[in-house]
Symmetry: C2
Amino acid sequence: MLNKTAKQLHNKLIKHKKTISVAESCTGGLLCSLLTKHPGASAYFLLGVVAYSNNSKKRILDIPEKIINKYGAVSNKVALLMARNIRKKINADFGISITGIAGPTGATAIKPKGTVYIGLSFKNKTFSRLFLFPGRREDIRKHAALKAMRLLSANL
Amino acid sequence: MLNKTAKQLHNKLIKHKKTISVAESCTGGLLCSLLTKHPGASAYFLLGVVAYSNNSKKRILDIPEKIINKYGAVSNKVALLMARNIRKKINADFGISITGIAGPTGATAIKPKGTVYIGLSFKNKTFSRLFLFPGRREDIRKHAALKAMRLLSANL
């Protein structure tokens, strides 16, 4: 399913001549890897940032420290900023972000394992959606990458 | 083999308390994805950049345009700068870079498909090695990620 969706999105991005950039945290590069799997990806894939540490979110994605401290790295606010900032950084048509808790550690009472925010930014619009994915770390990473691809595809 | 090597490297990085950052091009996020696969990766994995376009190599990794124009994006010089700059950007102990031609397009007479430079940077030392990997796009990406992990492991 992951590979099939990646191939469909690949074809759609080339057809629509749109460019993308990705900022991912808990998926750790999986989304970038899927989106660059097929030959010709360089036509649309401009930049990916795996912002695993909070420091990298601050330094590379320009997320203010006070925002991370106030809302948490896994939050609607941070997902929005990640998507918008990664898009602007390289002037892509779309910016996609993923920030979540793949586990097994990192969960809290209000943010259980599987909590993932996926953000999408394009001209004049940036939004994020909250998901709660089941399964183990690897399942959650795959679910998140799949949903991010579907979200992008639906807005292309 | 990829997953086994990733797990061994994961354990070694935690044991040695070393941090890393990654700048990858032709592998498109595969190396980051492998290095963040296991729980606890946040102890060592600080930042990954998938610098697929030349523009992203310039803007995010601070590779001068004249260097790319003179030597090409797939070159010893660019691999060295990618490794050094990604390390310095987030103050990691090690910076790892991959730049190459996964194909099927992009090959030239002097740089055939499978040409990959892997760079490693740590305190007072930065070097790169040239490989020529066989196989198709996906094989070349996997070979490159595996070699990068082995190169890092051998220097930990």
